[in-house]
Symmetry: C2
Subunit: 349 residues, 2 copies
């Protein structure tokens, strides 16, 4: 973790952003945004932060499908043709796709230029913008290419959430649920009670994540617990990528957490009442899909590409109680198949 | 600089490599080599290191032209299709092109897998394999994309130099001359006397580079002195890339050091006798090309893409005496033009 990565999270975000840009003396500011955030968020930003108005703008298509190496190549060529130098700053304005692709583009261009994130989705605020992981998909395998490079700063302003539809909010809540399940039973309780302000939940989620990342910035040990729900979740997300049933990241992770919790339960890592808590948090709030035998098989094959695997054995991060998680737990194919079966029974498929 | 990057440089390299591989418990070993090193060097390596025989082999074309993002994409797809996991080791066997592209491929695949370098050219032994810079060219602009990621270890065995033609040796000597000019007057003297063993020169060059890289791993300050000769040298190299007059990296850098020394002389940073020493080291040993007005213009345009530039001003690392170098020296276009003119006069064009 570089010493320079700061999270700015208060009502004063925009003036702090302006000070940051002033102090940085960058040779050039370049805003990366997608077709949605350019219309919905950039105007708010430009209105409130004078220096952002001087930035060049790079616009890319919205959606996960743009997270490809080819899109990066186009961005690198554009930067290179515009003679953007090593002292420029890339300002990533958007959701998780923008922070993922923008961080990667910046970390590789001329062997690395500075970048900051201004997350505009709940998912990006609570999770994706923090921790330095960035990357793109390779032939629909999620985040196969990337680096771990810390942004210089992250500016979180929940004002942008006003522009988000309900489905996008639920998408972000999934990662906050995850954070509670792996690291903070109190956060889970707060979400069950449903009385806590979203701002507070985001702040808690970011603080928990930062503490874990600080302990293990390069993802060699404890950081892996952040992958709870993601082994199965990523495979499900990859499977539907580009189809009419495409899922948002958090939607796939919600199902992933559901099925992985069933594996943890089967391995006697969690008790019945704990499993019930998880099902109650997920089942009413997310579309719990039914998978055909063939789909299940394809999802299983995608899991073999998971970055956590070693020696072709599937390894997961599984909770061992609410608020605690183990990593590098080996799971075999029949355990996963059994969990899918139980999942289908519970959702009544 | 990661704590784990070690340089192994002795007669015992191969058995040390074997111990390293044994100790590493990697899930898989993958050798990256080019069509030349696969024939000339891999057999020597496999004969002397039992564990290397079990490695999978990735072969790419020889030459700078392969240092592209498209070549990386193919390698990433191959790794991904073969389900190579995060605990694999990439073993880069070859010259500077292989260590550059191999380091980059490893540092980005699944957000980074371990890699080691086994340099087989003098250039790679004395320079490219050490320091963690890696990358590829973008539309013939040198090293526009890359990361700074330290190899786990570098195994230097001069046995491989026996397979190298004279032109390749001179190519590597250029970077050793550079190292002397920027950091060690004694090394320059040793090269003038021409009595020192190549092994000793490599060892000294590597030690000097490691010391500089350690002070500034991320290339923000003193590491930039390693770019002496490279602002003009890279532009010349880029200009001829893919043409019938394609130059080796060291050949371009030799001319680059020649012309940049003329700029340093013009700026009164070095004296006549120092300039003479440099000309005497370079002129008899390298093909000192003549450039037409049009070529000079094109080379100048390429210089505007140099990674050291800031606010569209050309910045160079220039020596201020033999064995000492300043970085971030601003140089204007007319100073460069004047140096090209003097260069043409000295080479008698």
């Amino acid at each position: 973790m570089t010493k320079n990565s700061t999270i700015i999270f208060d009502t004063n975000t925009f003036s702090k952003l302006n000070s940051f840009l002033k102090k940085g003396k960058y040779s050039r500011l370049i805003v990366l945004a997608d077709s949605n955030t350019i219309n919905e968020c950039y105007p708010i930003l430009a209105k409130n932060c004078a220096l952002i108005q001087k930035a060049d703008i790079l616009e890319i298509d919205a959606g996960e499908a743009i997270k490809t190496l080819d899109a990066c190549k186009e961005l690198w060529e554009t930067l290179s043709e515009a003679q953007v130098d090593k002292n420029a700053l890339l300002v990533n304005v958007g959701g998780g796709v923008i922070t993922d692709i923008g961080g990667f583009v910046a970390s590789v261009y001329k062997r690395g230029i500075d970048f900051i994130h201004i997350p505009t989705s709940l998912l990006a605020m609570a999770d994706a913008s923090v921790g330095g992981k960035c990357g793109v998909d390779l032939n629909s395998l999620k985040n196969q290419l990337g680096t771990i490079t810390q942004p210089k700063a992250v500016f979180i302003n929940t004002l942008f959430l006003n522009t988000l539809p309900q489905r996008q909010l639920a998408n972000g809540v999934a990662e906050i649920i995850k954070m509670g399940l792996i690291a903070d039973a109190k956060l889970v309780k707060a979400m069950q009670d449903n009385k806590t302000l979203l701002d507070t939940l985001i702040k808690r989620s970011v603080a928990l994540k930062m503490a874990i990342v600080k302990k293990d910035p390069n993802d060699k040990s404890v950081r892996k617990i952040l992958n709870f729900g993601h082994t199965i979740g990523h495979a499900i997300e990859s499977y539907f990528l580009g189809t009419k049933d495409e899922l948002l990241h958090g939607e796939a992770i919600a199902i992933g957490m559901f099925i992985e919790s069933l594996i943890a339960f089967d391995k006697k890592m969690i008790k019945t009442n704990e499993l019930q808590t998880i099902v109650d948090l997920i089942k009413p709030n997310y579309q719990v899909l039914e998978f055909s035998q063939e789909e299940e098989q394809k999802i299983m094959e995608l899991m073999l590409h998971d970055k956590k695997n070693k020696n072709n054995k599937i390894r997961m991060s599984l909770i061992n109680k609410i608020g605690s998680c183990k990593y590098d737990v080996e799971v075999n194919v029949s355990q996963i198949q059994k969990a899918f079966k139980t999942y289908h029974q519970i959702i009544g498929a």
